[in-house]
């Protein structure tokens, strides 16, 4: 066990802190994605290597060599200072790494610089009404006609489709091929004729998701990433990234601490909530599990830094992280009782009504990004080496 990052990294941490001390006044606080404040902050972060840190200079990034601990320190310090760590979103977190892996030179130079600067916003067109957990069963078709693909079909659960400039989209180009081999990965602007976006209101009342309909949408054939029929492989170069980041244990610990504060503040029958022995026991139990997940996260970080493999360790994070967070949010509602029902514009809601909202939001995350049941399939098959279910005879 050596829990220190070492002198080089502690010096780096000081640099980050000094940057934050000088510049955090310029950080956006809730401004819109297109606001000049957000875009200027993003440019400043890239210039100083706190965003797009490892993206090559040729594509508009900072061009540092990948260093897991440096990235971690940046994240830790920005979080501690409660300062926006720059833009995220599916373009930056998923498309850019994909293009770096498998994109053509032209695609890299065209798409990466405006994407990382926040000038080009993306949505991800993967799921369909008939292709959720079985994503490879997707049916949106793309047929070649001259220099174009002609795309027809429907996507669903498309986050930020109503805001996005472009979409990266999985389509079926080889309908006769086995399902994993007939898919291609296309890029096209959301302004292309034939695209209709309909908001999908979720249970929290927010319309972040959309349904997206394609009717004879023409996409130049050069806007394919990878080869025809290789879209599944292209998409999977980075799908693992998404799973790991859901249910971050540090955020869960922050929520745990907020709940503890709430329970010391609120009383029932003249007794602080935290003095109720049942609640106390449950809180200590949640704390054990959140602590275990935080330490587990440190173990994963250490494995990456030291290039050590513990396959099971990374397979469980999405399942455990989202389920634990959901349970914590639900428990907060329980301790509040009737007061925990306050919602919407109700001035009596606690902590901005976030307990109810997060309780539902994290149920969404339990389902999205590979349901808990799919995670268990993956854990048992890849982690424990158990066999796949036999295919049904057709």
């Amino acid at each position: 066990m050596d829990l220190s990052y070492g002198p080089h990294y502690e010096a780096f941490r000081e640099e980050v802190r000094s940057f934050l001390a000088r510049h955090s006044k310029d950080a956006p606080r809730g401004e819109g994605l297109r606001s000049e404040k957000v875009l200027a902050w993003q440019r400043l972060l890239i210039e100083n290597g706190y965003a797009a840190r490892t993206i090559p200079k040729a594509y508009g990034g900072y061009g540092a060599a990948p260093d897991i601990l440096e990235s971690r320190i940046i994240a830790e310090e920005f979080a501690a200072a409660r300062v926006s760590p720059g833009l995220g979103g599916q373009g930056i977190s998923m498309l850019v790494p994909t293009l770096l892996e498998v994109g053509t030179e032209a695609q890299k130079t065209t798409f990466i610089p405006p994407t990382i600067r926040g000038e080009m916003l993306w949505c991800q067109g993967y799921s369909e009404p008939g292709a959720g957990s079985d994503l490879a069963a997707l049916r949106t078709s793309a047929v070649v006609d001259g220099d174009d693909f002609v795309v027809n079909g429907q996507k669903i659960w498309t986050s930020t489709a109503h805001l996005a400039d472009w979409i990266f989209c999985l389509v079926r180009t080889e309908p006769e091929a086995p399902k994993h081999q007939g898919i291609s990965f296309l890029l096209f602007p959301m302004t292309t004729p034939g695209i209709e976006v309909r908001p999908l209101v979720d249970m929290t009342g927010v319309a972040n998701f959309n349904e997206v309909f394609f009717t004879d949408v023409r996409v130049p054939t050069r806007q394919i990433v990878g080869q025809r029929g290789e879209g599944w492989k292209v998409a999977n170069t980075i799908l693992g990234h998404e799973r790991g980041s859901l249910g971050d244990p540090n955020a869960t610990m922050t929520r745990f601490n907020a709940l503890l504060e709430l329970m010391r503040r609120e009383t029932v029958d003249g007794q602080r909530l935290i003095d109720n022995p049942l609640f106390r026991d449950r809180m200590a139990s949640l704390q054990s599990r959140v602590l275990a997940m935080r330490l587990h996260d440190m173990r994963l970080l250490s494995n990456k830094v030291n290039d050590e493999r513990a396959p099971m360790a990374s397979l469980i994070t999405k399942l455990q992280g989202t389920e634990l967070r959901h349970e914590l949010e639900g428990f907060a509602i329980d301790v509040l009782g009737e007061l925990g029902l306050a919602y919407g514009d109700n001035p009596d809601k606690q902590d901005g009504g976030s307990w109810q909202t997060s309780y539902m939001y994290f149920l969404g995350l339990i389902i999205g990004g590979g349901t808990s049941q799919i995670q268990k399939n993956i854990i048992s098959e890849r982690g424990l080496g158990m066999p796949r279910e036999p295919k049904l005879a057709k």
Binding site: M1, D2, L3, S4, Y5, G6, Y9, L69, L260, R264, I274, P277, R280, D281, M283, A284, S285, Q287, S288, R289, L291, A292, M293, L295, H296, M298, R299, L301, S302, N303, V305, N306, E308, M312, A313, I316, L319, Q320, Q373, Q375, K376, N377, I379, S380, E381, G383, L384, G385, M386, P387, R388, E389, P390
Partner: protein, 357 residues
């Protein structure tokens, strides 16, 4: 930065596991459970250095820490090995060190005997799991009287005894006024006894109750590590059994219901590894967090252990319920570890108190 085991620790772990697989198979556990003894096996383990793991090098030991001990405990739990590890090899040397007696020739000699495997020490803390009315040890001068219902190790040469006020004492099993009788527990992979002291001569180690608290925390970590090992063994056995057992013309491992049970066990156990390692590390290196992290490890492994013990048994179906596959040795060892030195509810109440909730 490295969050994990060192090369030495990994090597030690592999060596001990190889030896246990070879020399302490389930048949050996059954023989012990049927009334045999663990003396020969403990001697063999002491030849590997287990007895002197925490004994300072000056007294002939390896001078290692609680994390090393936790690695061993996990291996012992994995093999449900009968061994006086916790009292003899962990709590005793830890108590001598904490009491500042490492340089005292009398205690050095005892530590030396522990290293050689020639001295085993049981543990009798009346307040280990919360003090009950039947448990009490009081001192009159340097003589102790009272009862400890559950003392670790029925074959110890001496006991580390805590009196009600938290002071620690050394009591030889052969001393006049020291009586022990079997306290049969569900776990037959380790034997316990009821220790009754009647004006029994004792040697004081320390009056400082903080030492007892420290020892209890170390015991929490070791019991947690033991359950982690036992739980991992049960998961491995469940996965192996599911791969062999066929029903409806296919291995039951192909059924999602069975796969998901195994996945849940793996998902619950996996973060426990990091927690046990960290809690063990804190005992020697991060004093501020030593008690709380140990408590979290004990409480969480109590619960996760119980879940795994039940689920793994269910994966084995009717076979899991029989004595034939012997899975119940793991089930019962986990059950013992859950209650000993404070069950999860008890430990969590203490955790809340410790943190000033």
């Amino acid at each position: 930065m490295r969050f994990g085991l060192s090369e030495d620790q990994t090597l030690l772990d592999a060596t001990v596991r190889r030896l246990l697989a070879d020399q302490a198979p389930l048949d050996a556990v059954r023989a012990y459970a049927d009334g045999g003894d663990d003396h020969a096996l403990w001697s063999t383990l002491c030849e590997l250095g287990l007895g002197g793991l925490l004994v300072p090098e000056a007294a002939g030991g390896l001078g290692l820490g609680v994390l090393d001990a936790a690695v061993i405990a996990e291996a012992l739990g994995y093999h449900v090995t009968p061994a006086p590890f916790l009292g003899t090899a962990v709590l005793f040397p830890r108590a001598v060190t904490a009491a500042g007696l490492n340089n005292d020739p009398v205690w050095q000699e005892r530590l030396g005997a522990v290293v050689e495997g020639g001295l085993r020490i049981g543990v009798a803390f009346p307040q280990a799991g919360g003090q009950r009315s039947r448990d009490s040890v009081t001192a009159a001068g340097e003589n102790l009287s009272g009862t400890v219902t559950l003392a670790l190790d029925d074959a110890a040469d001496a006991y580390l005894v805590a009196s009600n006020d938290g002071a620690l004492w050394w009591v030889e099993a052969s001393a006049s006024g020291c009586a022990r009788e079997a306290f049969e527990t569900v776990d037959r992979s380790r034997r316990s006894c009821r220790l009754t002291l009647t004006d029994c001569a004792a040697t004081p180690l320390t009056q400082d109750p903080a030492v007892l608290a420290e020892l209890r925390a170390v015991a929490w970590v070791i019991l947690a590590a033991d359950s982690l090992g036992a739980g991992r063994a049960m998961l491995d056995k469940a996965v192996a059994y599911a791969g062999e057992r066929e029903q409806f013309n296919r291995p039951i491992a192909t059924f999602q219901a069975v796969k998901h049970m195994c996945a849940e066990m793996a998902a619950e156990l996996e973060p426990c590894t990091a927690l046990v390692w960290y809690a063990a590390h804190c005992q020697d290196h991060i004093r501020d967090e030593a008690l709380t992290t140990a408590g979290h490890a004990k409480a969480l492994l109590g619960d996760v252990g119980q879940f795994v013990a039940k689920t793994a048994t269910e994966v084995h179906g009717g076979m899991g319920f029989t004595d034939l596959v012997g899975l119940h040795y793991w089930f019962k060892r986990i059950g013992f570890n859950r209650q000993a030195f404070g069950n999860p509810q008890r430990v969590r109440a203490e955790l809340a108190e410790l943190q000033g909730w």
